[in-house]
Amino acid sequence: MALVNIDQVHKYYGDLHVLKGVDLKINAGEVVSIIGRSGSGKSTLLRCMNGLEAYQEGAIIVDNKEVSSDEKQVRLLARSVGMVFQSFNLFPHLTVGENIMLAPKLVLKLSSKEARELALDKLTKVGLAEKIDEYPDCLSGGQQQRVAIARALAMSPKVLLCDEITSALDPELVGEVLRVLEQLAADGMTLILVTHEMNFARDVGDRVVFMHQGKVWESGPAKAVFAQPSTPELQSFISAVL
Protein backbone atom coordinates (compact mmCIF):
# COMPACT_ATOMS: atom_id res chain seq x y z
CA MET A 1 0.00 0.00 0.00
CA ALA A 2 1.20 3.48 -0.80
CA LEU A 3 2.43 5.65 2.07
CA VAL A 4 -0.17 8.33 1.41
CA ASN A 5 -3.57 7.37 0.01
CA ILE A 6 -6.01 10.10 -0.78
CA ASP A 7 -9.34 8.78 -1.94
CA GLN A 8 -12.15 10.98 -3.28
CA VAL A 9 -11.61 13.74 -0.73
CA HIS A 10 -14.05 16.62 -0.58
CA LYS A 11 -13.59 19.68 1.56
CA TYR A 12 -15.91 22.61 2.11
CA TYR A 13 -15.42 25.93 3.87
CA GLY A 14 -19.07 26.62 4.55
CA ASP A 15 -20.59 26.84 1.07
CA LEU A 16 -17.22 27.02 -0.65
CA HIS A 17 -16.31 23.68 -2.22
CA VAL A 18 -12.50 23.71 -2.02
CA LEU A 19 -11.52 20.12 -2.77
CA LYS A 20 -13.75 18.35 -5.26
CA GLY A 21 -12.93 14.69 -5.11
CA VAL A 22 -9.15 14.49 -4.94
CA ASP A 23 -7.45 11.14 -5.61
CA LEU A 24 -3.71 10.82 -5.07
CA LYS A 25 -1.32 8.05 -4.06
CA ILE A 26 2.22 8.75 -2.97
CA ASN A 27 4.78 6.02 -2.38
CA ALA A 28 7.56 6.02 0.19
CA GLY A 29 10.65 7.78 -1.11
CA GLU A 30 8.81 9.83 -3.71
CA VAL A 31 9.32 13.57 -4.10
CA VAL A 32 6.03 15.06 -5.21
CA SER A 33 5.50 18.72 -6.07
CA ILE A 34 2.00 20.09 -5.97
CA ILE A 35 1.66 23.12 -8.20
CA GLY A 36 -1.21 25.30 -9.28
CA ARG A 37 -2.68 28.76 -9.06
CA SER A 38 -3.55 30.24 -5.68
CA GLY A 39 -7.01 29.11 -4.69
CA SER A 40 -6.63 25.80 -6.50
CA GLY A 41 -6.73 23.94 -3.18
CA LYS A 42 -3.13 22.77 -3.04
CA SER A 43 -2.28 24.11 0.43
CA THR A 44 -5.63 22.92 1.74
CA LEU A 45 -4.94 19.42 0.43
CA LEU A 46 -1.55 19.43 2.15
CA ARG A 47 -3.08 20.58 5.42
CA CYS A 48 -5.69 17.84 5.18
CA MET A 49 -2.92 15.24 5.01
CA ASN A 50 -1.92 15.84 8.63
CA GLY A 51 -5.26 16.82 10.09
CA LEU A 52 -4.67 20.59 10.33
CA GLU A 53 -7.80 20.92 8.20
CA ALA A 54 -10.79 18.64 8.38
CA TYR A 55 -12.30 17.15 5.23
CA GLN A 56 -15.92 16.17 4.88
CA GLU A 57 -15.97 13.24 2.45
CA GLY A 58 -13.57 10.56 1.31
CA ALA A 59 -10.54 9.25 3.13
CA ILE A 60 -6.89 10.08 3.63
CA ILE A 61 -4.75 7.25 4.92
CA VAL A 62 -1.14 7.98 5.82
CA ASP A 63 1.16 5.22 7.01
CA ASN A 64 -1.88 2.95 7.46
CA LYS A 65 -3.61 5.43 9.77
CA GLU A 66 -6.71 7.29 8.75
CA VAL A 67 -6.29 11.04 9.11
CA SER A 68 -8.94 12.90 11.02
CA SER A 69 -8.73 16.32 12.61
CA ASP A 70 -9.37 14.76 16.01
CA GLU A 71 -6.82 16.18 18.44
CA LYS A 72 -5.47 12.80 19.60
CA GLN A 73 -5.29 11.47 16.06
CA VAL A 74 -3.28 14.48 14.92
CA ARG A 75 -0.77 13.94 17.69
CA LEU A 76 -0.40 10.28 16.84
CA LEU A 77 0.05 11.23 13.22
CA ALA A 78 2.81 13.68 14.13
CA ARG A 79 5.14 10.73 14.47
CA SER A 80 4.74 9.81 10.81
CA VAL A 81 4.07 13.20 9.24
CA GLY A 82 6.28 16.24 9.66
CA MET A 83 5.42 19.69 8.42
CA VAL A 84 7.34 22.82 7.51
CA PHE A 85 5.49 26.11 7.05
CA GLN A 86 5.88 29.18 4.90
CA SER A 87 6.28 31.36 7.99
CA PHE A 88 8.74 28.97 9.75
CA ASN A 89 6.73 29.02 13.02
CA LEU A 90 9.79 28.55 15.17
CA PHE A 91 9.21 29.16 18.88
CA PRO A 92 10.82 32.58 19.38
CA HIS A 93 11.28 32.19 23.16
CA LEU A 94 13.39 29.05 22.76
CA THR A 95 16.89 28.62 21.37
CA VAL A 96 17.42 26.73 18.14
CA GLY A 97 18.42 23.64 20.11
CA GLU A 98 15.42 23.91 22.44
CA ASN A 99 13.10 24.31 19.47
CA ILE A 100 14.29 20.98 18.13
CA MET A 101 14.48 19.22 21.50
CA LEU A 102 11.03 20.18 22.76
CA ALA A 103 8.93 17.55 21.00
CA PRO A 104 11.44 14.68 21.27
CA LYS A 105 11.59 15.32 25.02
CA LEU A 106 7.87 15.77 25.61
CA VAL A 107 6.44 13.36 23.05
CA LEU A 108 9.14 10.74 22.52
CA LYS A 109 10.30 11.00 26.17
CA LEU A 110 13.99 11.32 25.32
CA SER A 111 16.36 12.47 28.04
CA SER A 112 17.87 15.95 27.72
CA LYS A 113 21.18 14.44 26.70
CA GLU A 114 19.67 12.22 24.02
CA ALA A 115 17.52 15.06 22.75
CA ARG A 116 20.51 17.38 22.46
CA GLU A 117 22.47 14.78 20.52
CA LEU A 118 19.49 14.36 18.24
CA ALA A 119 19.21 18.13 17.77
CA LEU A 120 22.92 18.39 16.99
CA ASP A 121 22.65 15.58 14.48
CA LYS A 122 19.69 17.17 12.66
CA LEU A 123 21.29 20.61 12.74
CA THR A 124 24.45 19.15 11.22
CA LYS A 125 22.27 17.76 8.45
CA VAL A 126 20.97 21.25 7.61
CA GLY A 127 24.41 22.79 8.13
CA LEU A 128 23.64 24.84 11.23
CA ALA A 129 25.23 22.91 14.10
CA GLU A 130 27.05 26.03 15.33
CA LYS A 131 23.73 27.87 15.84
CA ILE A 132 22.36 25.44 18.42
CA ASP A 133 22.40 27.95 21.30
CA GLU A 134 21.23 31.01 19.38
CA TYR A 135 17.71 32.38 19.34
CA PRO A 136 15.75 32.20 16.08
CA ASP A 137 15.58 35.98 15.65
CA CYS A 138 19.39 36.08 15.37
CA LEU A 139 19.15 33.92 12.25
CA SER A 140 18.39 34.81 8.66
CA GLY A 141 15.11 33.63 7.13
CA GLY A 142 16.85 30.86 5.25
CA GLN A 143 18.58 29.67 8.40
CA GLN A 144 15.31 29.78 10.34
CA GLN A 145 13.64 27.66 7.70
CA ARG A 146 16.49 25.15 7.85
CA VAL A 147 16.04 24.98 11.62
CA ALA A 148 12.32 24.37 11.09
CA ILE A 149 13.23 21.47 8.78
CA ALA A 150 15.62 20.08 11.39
CA ARG A 151 12.87 20.40 14.01
CA ALA A 152 10.47 18.39 11.87
CA LEU A 153 13.13 15.78 11.08
CA ALA A 154 13.84 15.26 14.77
CA MET A 155 10.54 13.42 15.07
CA SER A 156 11.73 10.96 12.39
CA PRO A 157 8.71 11.45 10.12
CA LYS A 158 8.05 9.07 7.24
CA VAL A 159 6.87 11.95 5.11
CA LEU A 160 7.65 15.66 5.23
CA LEU A 161 5.01 18.14 4.09
CA CYS A 162 6.39 21.48 2.90
CA ASP A 163 3.88 24.29 2.50
CA GLU A 164 5.44 26.94 0.24
CA ILE A 165 8.50 26.93 2.44
CA THR A 166 10.54 29.29 0.28
CA SER A 167 7.80 31.80 -0.48
CA ALA A 168 8.57 34.07 2.47
CA LEU A 169 12.30 34.14 1.80
CA ASP A 170 14.42 36.75 0.10
CA PRO A 171 15.47 35.38 -3.32
CA GLU A 172 19.11 34.97 -2.32
CA LEU A 173 18.11 32.73 0.61
CA VAL A 174 15.94 30.32 -1.38
CA GLY A 175 18.87 28.28 -2.64
CA GLU A 176 20.16 27.16 0.75
CA VAL A 177 16.73 25.81 1.72
CA LEU A 178 16.26 24.02 -1.61
CA ARG A 179 19.71 22.43 -1.25
CA VAL A 180 18.62 20.97 2.11
CA LEU A 181 15.50 19.55 0.44
CA GLU A 182 17.59 18.13 -2.36
CA GLN A 183 19.81 16.41 0.17
CA LEU A 184 16.76 14.97 1.93
CA ALA A 185 15.39 13.72 -1.37
CA ALA A 186 18.74 12.06 -2.10
CA ASP A 187 18.59 10.39 1.32
CA GLY A 188 15.26 8.84 0.37
CA MET A 189 12.91 11.00 2.42
CA THR A 190 9.34 11.19 1.14
CA LEU A 191 8.63 14.84 0.35
CA ILE A 192 5.36 16.45 -0.59
CA LEU A 193 5.82 20.07 -1.51
CA VAL A 194 3.40 22.78 -2.34
CA THR A 195 5.73 25.05 -4.23
CA HIS A 196 6.21 27.85 -6.68
CA GLU A 197 9.79 26.77 -7.39
CA MET A 198 9.18 25.28 -10.81
CA ASN A 199 12.83 24.56 -11.51
CA PHE A 200 13.08 22.61 -8.29
CA ALA A 201 9.86 20.74 -9.06
CA ARG A 202 11.17 19.79 -12.48
CA ASP A 203 14.76 18.95 -11.58
CA VAL A 204 14.47 17.35 -8.15
CA GLY A 205 10.87 16.19 -7.99
CA ASP A 206 9.88 12.73 -9.17
CA ARG A 207 6.33 13.68 -9.86
CA VAL A 208 4.34 16.82 -10.40
CA VAL A 209 0.71 17.19 -9.46
CA PHE A 210 -1.11 20.11 -11.02
CA MET A 211 -4.17 21.19 -9.13
CA HIS A 212 -6.93 23.24 -10.70
CA GLN A 213 -10.38 24.11 -9.37
CA GLY A 214 -10.08 21.77 -6.41
CA LYS A 215 -9.09 18.71 -8.44
CA VAL A 216 -5.93 16.94 -9.51
CA TRP A 217 -6.03 18.22 -13.08
CA GLU A 218 -2.92 16.55 -14.34
CA SER A 219 -0.10 14.55 -12.82
CA GLY A 220 2.89 12.60 -13.99
CA PRO A 221 6.69 12.34 -14.02
CA ALA A 222 8.11 15.79 -13.40
CA LYS A 223 10.23 16.23 -16.51
CA ALA A 224 7.59 14.86 -18.86
CA VAL A 225 4.83 17.02 -17.41
CA PHE A 226 6.87 20.17 -17.79
CA ALA A 227 8.06 19.22 -21.26
CA GLN A 228 4.64 18.24 -22.58
CA PRO A 229 1.72 19.40 -20.49
CA SER A 230 -1.39 17.75 -21.90
CA THR A 231 -4.12 20.05 -20.60
CA PRO A 232 -4.49 23.66 -21.83
CA GLU A 233 -4.81 24.81 -18.17
CA LEU A 234 -1.38 23.44 -17.28
CA GLN A 235 0.08 24.76 -20.52
CA SER A 236 -1.06 28.27 -19.73
CA PHE A 237 0.06 27.94 -16.10
CA ILE A 238 3.55 26.78 -17.07
CA SER A 239 3.98 29.47 -19.68
CA ALA A 240 2.87 32.04 -17.10
CA VAL A 241 5.34 30.98 -14.40
CA LEU A 242 8.39 29.80 -16.32
Binding site: L52, L76, L102
Partner: protein, 216 residues
Protein backbone atom coordinates in the same frame (compact mmCIF):
# COMPACT_ATOMS: atom_id res chain seq x y z
CA UNK B 1 -14.00 66.02 72.47
CA UNK B 2 -10.77 64.16 72.03
CA UNK B 3 -8.05 65.94 70.09
CA UNK B 4 -6.34 63.97 67.29
CA UNK B 5 -2.89 64.98 66.15
CA UNK B 6 -2.02 64.61 62.50
CA UNK B 7 0.22 61.76 63.44
CA UNK B 8 -2.68 59.98 65.17
CA UNK B 9 -4.74 60.31 62.02
CA UNK B 10 -1.99 59.13 59.70
CA UNK B 11 -1.04 56.27 61.99
CA UNK B 12 -4.60 54.98 62.07
CA UNK B 13 -4.99 55.32 58.34
CA UNK B 14 -1.75 53.43 57.79
CA UNK B 15 -2.92 50.67 60.11
CA UNK B 16 -6.08 50.35 58.04
CA UNK B 17 -3.98 50.39 54.86
CA UNK B 18 -2.72 46.95 55.86
CA UNK B 19 -6.24 45.68 55.16
CA UNK B 20 -6.41 47.43 51.83
CA UNK B 21 -3.16 45.74 50.89
CA UNK B 22 -4.31 42.35 52.22
CA UNK B 23 -7.59 42.59 50.34
CA UNK B 24 -5.85 43.70 47.14
CA UNK B 25 -3.35 40.85 47.33
CA UNK B 26 -6.06 38.28 48.04
CA UNK B 27 -8.20 39.54 45.18
CA UNK B 28 -5.27 39.73 42.81
CA UNK B 29 -3.84 36.31 43.59
CA UNK B 30 -7.28 34.69 43.70
CA UNK B 31 -8.28 36.51 40.54
CA UNK B 32 -5.13 35.44 38.74
CA UNK B 33 -5.67 31.78 39.67
CA UNK B 34 -9.32 31.80 38.63
CA UNK B 35 -8.37 33.80 35.52
CA UNK B 36 -5.76 31.21 34.57
CA UNK B 37 -8.32 28.44 34.89
CA UNK B 38 -10.85 30.40 32.81
CA UNK B 39 -8.20 31.14 30.18
CA UNK B 40 -7.35 27.45 29.90
CA UNK B 41 -11.07 26.64 29.60
CA UNK B 42 -11.48 29.23 26.90
CA UNK B 43 -8.56 27.84 24.90
CA UNK B 44 -9.60 24.21 25.29
CA UNK B 45 -11.70 24.38 22.12
CA UNK B 46 -14.77 22.93 23.87
CA UNK B 47 -17.79 25.04 23.01
CA UNK B 48 -19.76 24.74 26.29
CA UNK B 49 -16.68 25.73 28.31
CA UNK B 50 -16.05 28.69 26.04
CA UNK B 51 -19.63 29.90 26.41
CA UNK B 52 -19.39 29.56 30.17
CA UNK B 53 -16.24 31.68 30.28
CA UNK B 54 -17.73 34.22 27.92
CA UNK B 55 -20.87 34.53 30.05
CA UNK B 56 -18.83 34.86 33.23
CA UNK B 57 -16.64 37.60 31.78
CA UNK B 58 -19.61 39.50 30.34
CA UNK B 59 -21.54 39.41 33.63
CA UNK B 60 -18.67 40.70 35.72
CA UNK B 61 -17.56 43.28 33.17
CA UNK B 62 -21.09 44.46 32.57
CA UNK B 63 -22.17 45.13 36.14
CA UNK B 64 -20.78 47.60 38.70
CA UNK B 65 -18.34 46.16 41.21
CA UNK B 66 -20.51 47.64 43.96
CA UNK B 67 -23.49 45.52 42.84
CA UNK B 68 -21.30 42.44 42.80
CA UNK B 69 -20.25 43.22 46.36
CA UNK B 70 -23.85 43.70 47.47
CA UNK B 71 -24.97 40.51 45.77
CA UNK B 72 -22.26 38.42 47.39
CA UNK B 73 -22.67 40.05 50.80
CA UNK B 74 -26.46 40.23 51.03
CA UNK B 75 -27.24 37.38 48.66
CA UNK B 76 -25.31 34.81 50.60
CA UNK B 77 -26.80 35.93 53.91
CA UNK B 78 -30.26 35.53 52.36
CA UNK B 79 -29.31 31.95 51.65
CA UNK B 80 -28.56 31.60 55.35
CA UNK B 81 -24.79 31.71 54.91
CA UNK B 82 -23.23 33.96 57.47
CA UNK B 83 -20.52 35.73 55.53
CA UNK B 84 -18.18 38.34 56.96
CA UNK B 85 -17.54 41.63 55.21
CA UNK B 86 -13.95 40.48 54.60
CA UNK B 87 -14.99 37.24 52.89
CA UNK B 88 -17.68 38.94 50.83
CA UNK B 89 -15.22 41.60 49.66
CA UNK B 90 -12.52 39.03 48.96
CA UNK B 91 -14.89 36.86 46.90
CA UNK B 92 -16.46 39.71 44.95
CA UNK B 93 -13.11 41.28 44.13
CA UNK B 94 -11.68 37.90 43.12
CA UNK B 95 -14.55 37.37 40.67
CA UNK B 96 -14.20 40.89 39.35
CA UNK B 97 -10.41 40.59 38.94
CA UNK B 98 -10.57 37.17 37.31
CA UNK B 99 -13.06 38.37 34.70
CA UNK B 100 -10.89 41.31 33.67
CA UNK B 101 -7.64 39.35 33.73
CA UNK B 102 -9.23 36.64 31.57
CA UNK B 103 -10.17 39.27 29.04
CA UNK B 104 -6.74 40.94 29.15
CA UNK B 105 -4.97 37.60 28.72
CA UNK B 106 -7.29 36.59 25.90
CA UNK B 107 -6.08 39.62 23.99
CA UNK B 108 -2.45 38.78 24.73
CA UNK B 109 -2.77 35.16 23.63
CA UNK B 110 -4.65 36.18 20.50
CA UNK B 111 -1.72 38.35 19.41
CA UNK B 112 0.45 35.22 19.07
CA UNK B 113 0.50 33.84 15.52
CA UNK B 114 -1.79 30.88 14.85
CA UNK B 115 1.25 29.12 13.43
CA UNK B 116 2.60 28.61 16.94
CA UNK B 117 -0.38 26.38 17.72
CA UNK B 118 -0.16 24.61 14.38
CA UNK B 119 3.56 23.92 14.64
CA UNK B 120 3.08 22.51 18.15
CA UNK B 121 0.26 20.33 16.95
CA UNK B 122 2.29 19.02 14.02
CA UNK B 123 5.09 18.12 16.41
CA UNK B 124 2.69 16.05 18.48
CA UNK B 125 2.52 18.26 21.58
CA UNK B 126 -0.67 17.94 23.63
CA UNK B 127 -2.90 20.91 24.37
CA UNK B 128 -1.46 21.25 27.86
CA UNK B 129 2.11 20.99 26.59
CA UNK B 130 1.44 23.58 23.90
CA UNK B 131 -0.11 25.94 26.40
CA UNK B 132 2.56 25.46 29.04
CA UNK B 133 5.69 25.32 26.91
CA UNK B 134 4.88 27.38 23.84
CA UNK B 135 1.95 29.74 24.32
CA UNK B 136 2.11 30.92 27.93
CA UNK B 137 5.86 31.67 28.03
CA UNK B 138 5.33 34.03 25.09
CA UNK B 139 2.00 35.41 26.24
CA UNK B 140 3.35 36.24 29.69
CA UNK B 141 5.84 38.70 28.22
CA UNK B 142 3.04 40.49 26.44
CA UNK B 143 0.64 40.24 29.37
CA UNK B 144 2.92 41.45 32.14
CA UNK B 145 2.49 45.19 31.60
CA UNK B 146 -1.33 45.26 31.28
CA UNK B 147 -1.67 42.81 34.17
CA UNK B 148 0.41 44.95 36.51
CA UNK B 149 -1.49 47.96 35.20
CA UNK B 150 -4.79 46.32 36.10
CA UNK B 151 -3.62 45.68 39.69
CA UNK B 152 -4.06 49.44 40.16
CA UNK B 153 -7.77 49.01 39.41
CA UNK B 154 -7.96 46.24 42.00
CA UNK B 155 -6.44 48.43 44.71
CA UNK B 156 -8.82 51.27 43.96
CA UNK B 157 -11.68 48.78 43.78
CA UNK B 158 -11.07 47.69 47.38
CA UNK B 159 -12.37 51.13 48.48
CA UNK B 160 -15.88 49.90 47.73
CA UNK B 161 -15.57 47.28 50.45
CA UNK B 162 -15.96 50.17 52.91
CA UNK B 163 -19.65 50.31 51.96
CA UNK B 164 -20.38 46.85 53.32
CA UNK B 165 -18.54 47.80 56.50
CA UNK B 166 -15.13 46.31 55.96
CA UNK B 167 -12.56 48.52 57.68
CA UNK B 168 -9.89 49.25 55.13
CA UNK B 169 -8.35 52.58 54.18
CA UNK B 170 -11.49 54.34 52.93
CA UNK B 171 -13.67 53.11 55.79
CA UNK B 172 -11.03 54.18 58.32
CA UNK B 173 -11.00 57.59 56.65
CA UNK B 174 -14.78 57.87 56.96
CA UNK B 175 -14.69 56.86 60.60
CA UNK B 176 -11.92 59.31 61.46
CA UNK B 177 -13.81 62.04 59.67
CA UNK B 178 -16.88 61.31 61.76
CA UNK B 179 -14.76 61.89 64.86
CA UNK B 180 -12.79 64.93 63.70
CA UNK B 181 -14.99 66.66 61.10
CA UNK B 182 -11.97 67.48 59.00
CA UNK B 183 -12.94 65.82 55.73
CA UNK B 184 -10.52 67.66 53.49
CA UNK B 185 -7.48 66.80 55.54
CA UNK B 186 -8.52 63.19 56.17
CA UNK B 187 -9.50 62.36 52.62
CA UNK B 188 -6.41 64.10 51.25
CA UNK B 189 -4.36 61.76 53.40
CA UNK B 190 -6.42 58.80 52.22
CA UNK B 191 -5.94 59.79 48.60
CA UNK B 192 -2.22 60.23 49.10
CA UNK B 193 -1.89 56.77 50.57
CA UNK B 194 -3.79 55.26 47.60
CA UNK B 195 -1.53 57.18 45.28
CA UNK B 196 1.56 55.91 47.07
CA UNK B 197 0.30 52.35 46.58
CA UNK B 198 -0.76 52.74 42.96
CA UNK B 199 1.88 54.99 41.46
CA UNK B 200 4.78 52.53 41.73
CA UNK B 201 2.63 49.91 40.04
CA UNK B 202 1.71 52.25 37.19
CA UNK B 203 5.36 53.10 36.80
CA UNK B 204 6.34 49.42 36.79
CA UNK B 205 3.70 48.72 34.18
CA UNK B 206 5.06 51.45 31.91
CA UNK B 207 8.61 50.17 32.32
CA UNK B 208 7.55 46.62 31.52
CA UNK B 209 5.70 47.77 28.46
CA UNK B 210 8.80 49.51 27.15
CA UNK B 211 10.97 46.52 27.95
CA UNK B 212 8.83 43.92 26.21
CA UNK B 213 7.31 46.02 23.49
CA UNK B 214 8.55 44.65 20.21
CA UNK B 215 10.98 42.29 21.89
CA UNK B 216 10.69 38.58 21.35
Amino acid sequence: MIEFTNWDLLRNLLLATRWTIALSLTAFIGGALVGLLLTAMRLSGRRPLQWLVRGYVEVFQGTPLLMQLFLVFFGLSLLGLDISAWSAAAFALTFFTSAFLTEIWRGCIDTLPKGQWEASRCLGLSFQQTLGRVILPQAIRVALAPTVGFSVQVIKGTALASIIGFVELTKAGTMLNNATFEPFKIFAMVALIYFALCYPLSLASQRLEKKFNGAR
